[in-house]
Structures are given as structure tokens and as C-alpha cells.
Symmetry: C2
Subunit: 320 residues, 2 copies
């Protein structure tokens, strides 16, 4: 959309057309023509050096994760990934950065059949803002206000590895250099959950989801606030990443990282209790691990540990 | 879309619903339902401190201009402004910044009937990325590849004041402090041209436009490249902002600032020569100054000054 974009066109514009996008990169705007039986889901997320990722992070992982966090938001609505724009601020336009960054970005974009339809680049401290678009069946979506009393609460995958990586990066958990590198990859090359979420919506197994960015406790709060309900969350039921057992001795600390660490980008969703069998069948058929971690209630938000209500010590991640 | 957005919700979320947006701020995604007889135009632009604006710039002007540059892209397609998302990176979430920034932003958004439908905030060096959406009649738009040989080339408004402001800001043109302040306001509180552009499209007076960000010469080049045509551009016909006469003695320097200064966000468009009278009638009825500055040709790109082809000394603005 801006002239400067020409400069890195070789890295970003060679990826063909995008369905329902008659005009992509190269004009003042892109033009989108979503099918009349679909709604459009739109989200945006920024990754800033020193805040969302450590200085010196592999550009390939950064490219991957910058798109992943947006796909994760699309998944949280049950939307099918469609296309995206990229706003890239970089200190200089070096090939050393741009080549691996675009490789990481497009490895995930291709897998999700997403086209890049526009963007801009400018000079400044490293910062990546992606705006992603998804398609939804008209009038339907997984929404934060869609929980119902009695719904079971589920989470996909395992929790805590990204939180552990941050702790290790700051030296608060001791790991060797190559272990830190592996943790970095694990916390950035996260598997997107849009396929599974799309099936939850299609099969009417859920009306409510959120992706875990702030930590499962913090994100469940967002659901409860919007749904005007309470919950009972069992910390012992949280599925812990194997790395927690490997590097963290204190079982309380492991539980805290799984509950509050954040950055997991797994799917937190609710489903009526009489559909529990169907949820588990879907989990099995799609090969996506699903754990039941609590129940939606009409009461307050209760967090249980070893069967007792606890007041958690750690607070959810906040920037300010 | 992210939890942190809650913090500045008081500044950004009190602005009511947006048409065709059943779900706005507060979930993982916003949901858009554009009418079936419309296409969606989408654009994004970033404003970075020290690159796109000087450190210490009035946050109110920054809020205004961050949206204006995006509306200018919508105008360049002939699209009607619809809604936008905001990705804001700020060093700290001080009221001293957020209050005037949101005032400037929403003063323009309200005037253009645009709703804020999502976004995120994070910590870091001051940077504003806005993604703006507009509505187009299905299958129609002003496009860079829409010029035809024989079309007349027009520009709205006057040129050169934003270029002069940059020169003065760097001390290359001497002005007094209060004059610099006035130049700053003039170069940031620019009038959007979407109404005029929309009429050009509706009345079929144009098929081709671009907004002037890089300077009229640089932006005309984008049109010529995409339309695979040449042009004859008359530097003497460029409408110069009154400030150029006031602060710049050298007439060649004045002409250069009007031609290459950039940041004008006026509309550069082409129109068949037999519609010239209609263009001028529209100009008069809408109170938008329009100047004819050249002609689209099948030849090369010729820049004329005092009737002679010149090789310009100054290059268009580039970040890298």
C-alpha cells in the first residue's frame, strides 16, 4: 500500500493470488469480496522486540509466531483462516533478517491457505503487526459471551512451556543454552488450533472459546466477565507441558506456570456436559489432545487445588 | 482483542456501535458483515516516532494524522470510510498522551462515520498502526492501473506544506517557533478527500487515483507503472501551498517541494479529457480545489518546467 513496500516485494509478493481478493498488494488498498454466506472475522496483534520476544530471536521463529498469534485469535472464533496484512518496522532492510522472517511467516501462511494482501514497511525498532482475516458461517461464531451454566471447560494441548521459556530467558529458571533454544522453538512454533475450533463450531459442540494468551486463569476470567457467569477451575486438571517436569522441581511452581504463564495459544472452550462424549470423539479423530479443567457455574470464580479453594499468588501477565 | 486493551478502554471503547459490525471490541476477533452489494477496501499504515513524525509531536495531531493517512488510502480507491482497528505501541499508558491522542483520532473518525472495532496496545517505542476499511460499489474502484492514454491528470488542494514542515523541522528552512507550530498543524490536520473521490467514482468521472504520500512525481510513477503508460507533467501547473511563497525564496526550491515534498495526502487522479467540464463542475459544487497538472500519454514520463523537459534534482522520499 505504501511505496516502501516495493523494496521487500521480492520476499513478500511472490505468493500468488488469494481467493475472494480481486486486488491484492500494489494499490492504495486491497479489495476483498467475501462470499455472501460468510461473515468476516478480523483481528490484529503486535509483536515488539524486548516485550513479546527477546532481542536476537531467530527471525524465522518470529515470522511464524507473528502470524500464529493472529490465527489463534481466528481459531478462538471458530473462523477459517483467509488472508492477512503485514506492517513491519525494522531497523534496516537486511536480507539476513527478511529472508528467514518471510520463510517462517509463509511456512505457516501456506499451511493455513492464507494470502498476504497488503501491508507496509518502515524504519524503526523491530515491531511486527499483523492483521488477519477469517471466514465464518453467517451469524455464527465461538464467542466469549457464549458460555452457559453447566458447560464443561476444556483446553487443548499442554500448558506452561512458553511461560517456562520466559522464566528461563530471564534466568529465573536455570537451563542450559541448548535447552533454552529448544524451549524457544517450542514456545514460538506453536500448532494453530483453527481446524479443531472450526469443527467445534460446525458440529455445534461449543458456542464459546478464547485463545490462551494471558494464561488460562486470566483468559477464563474474560469469558466469565462477558458471559456474566462463574466457574470452578481445577488446577490439578491443567495439562502440564513435559518441560515443566523436566526443569521445575517445585510442583506448585509447575502448576503456576501452567495456570498463569500465558503465551500458550491453546484453545480454551466450553461445551454442554451432554456433549462431552462428542468432544472426546472429535479430539481422538483429529489427534488434538483435550482436557476437561473445570465447569461453568452461576456462582463466583473458584480456583481449586487438591480439592480446596485457593487464592493464587501469581498475577496474570500485564504489560503495564 | 488482547487483554491489555482493557486498560485504555475508557479512551477508545465509548464510541458506540458500527454499522455492519455485529461484534466489535471485546472478543478475540471483531465480526464484519459487509452488505452483499459492496466490496471491502482495506489498507494499513504505520506512524513511527522519529520517522513519520518528530519526537514531541502533539498527541492530538498524531491521533488525527494516523487515521487520516489511512482514510487517504480509502479515498484513493473511491471507497466510503467504514471502520478501523488500532495497534498502539506506547512507552507508558499515561493519560497525558492517551487523552489528546484519542481526541484527535475520534474527531476525524466521527466526522467520517468510522467506528473503532478492535486493536491492541503494547509497551515500546511510540508507534501507531491503523488498519482501515472502506466500502465500494461491487466490482468498482479507482485503481492505479485504471489510467488511459489521453486522460488528463488532476490534483486536489495545494502541495508542498508538509514537505516544507519537514525541511523547517530539520532546520534546512528557517522559520520562527510559532510558524513551525502552524506548519506542523497544517501538515498533520489534512482534510480527507474521500467525499470528492467517492463522487468521482459514482459519476464515472475517473477510473484511476492515488493519494500523494511520496510526492506527486513519485506517486504518478506508481500509476504509470501499473497502467503501463507515460505522462507529461507540468511542474509550473502544480498548485503550491501559500506557505511556500511565504518561507521559500528560491522559486526552484518551491517547485521541488510541491513536486517531491510528499506527505500531502491530496488526491492525484486521471479523467478522460471530454469530462474536464464535469470535473470542474464537481470541484466547484463540492468546494474542493482541483488543478490539471498534466496528461497521460503512450510515451515516456516527461517532466516539464517552463515548457522544457527537465531532469529533477531531488529524489522522492524513501525510508531506506
Amino acid at each position: 500500500m505504501r511505496g516502501e513496500f516495493d523494496l521487500i516485494r521480492e520476499y513478500f509478493a511472490s505468493h500468488g493470488g488469494t481467493r475472494y481478493v480481486p486486488l491484492g498488494i500494489g494499490d492504495d488498498c486491497a479489495i476483498m469480496t467475501p462470499p455472501p454466506d460468510r461473515d468476516v472475522a478480523v483481528t490484529t496483534d503486535t509483536q515488539n522486540e524486548g516485550i513479546h520476544f527477546f532481542r536476537g530471536t531467530d527471525p524465522k521463529l518470529l515470522g511464524y509466531k507473528s502470524l500464529l498469534v493472529n490465527i489463534s485469535d481466528l481459531a478462538a472464533m471458530g473462523a477459517e483462516p483467509w488472508c492477512f496484512t503485514l506492517s513491519l518496522t525494522i531497523p534496516d532492510s537486511s536480507e539476513k533478517f527478511l529472508r528467514p522472517f518471510s520463510e517462517g511467516l509463509f511456512s505457516l501462511a501456506s499451511r493455513c491457505h492464507m494470502g498476504l494482501i497488503g501491508g507496509n514497511t518502515s524504519k524503526g525498532p523491530l515491531s511486527v503487526t499483523i492483521e488477519a482475516f477469517g471466514l465464518l458461517p453467517k451469524g455464527r461464531a465461538l464467542r466469549r459471551d457464549g458460555a452457559r451454566a453447566g458447560d464443561l471447560i476444556y483446553v487443548t494441548g499442554d500448558l506452561g512451556a512458553p511461560g517456562l521459556y520466559v522464566e528461563a530467558g530471564y534466568g529465573r529458571v536455570r537451563v542450559r543454552d541448548e535447552e533454552l533454544h529448544d524451549l524457544c522453538i517450542k514456545s514460538m512454533e506453536i500448532q494453530p488450533r483453527h481446524d479443531f475450533a472450526g469443527e467445534l463450531l460446525q458440529k455445534d459442540l461449543s458456542a464459546c472459546a478464547i485463545d490462551i494468551s494471558d494464561g488460562v486463569v486470566g483468559d477464563l476470567k474474560h469469558i466469565l466477565k462477558r458471559s456474566r457467569l462463574g466457574a470452578r477451575l481445577d488446577l490439578n486438571a491443567l495439562p502440564q507441558a513435559s518441560e515443566l517436569g523436566e526443569f521445575v522441581k517445585d510442583p506448585d511452581k509447575r502448576m503456576e506456570l501452567a495456570a498463569f504463564g500465558g503465551g500458550d495459544y491453546e484453545l480454551l472452550f466450553t461445551s454442554p456436559s451432554d456433549r462431552a462424549k462428542d468432544v472426546m470423539l472429535l479430539s481422538g479423530s483429529m489427534g488434538v489432545k483435550v482436557s476437561q479443567i473445570g465447569t461453568i457455574t452461576t456462582g463466583s470464580f473458584e480456583i481449586l487445588k487438591d480439592g480446596k479453594i485457593v487464592e493464587p499468588a501469581m498475577r496474570p501477565f500485564e504489560h503495564f
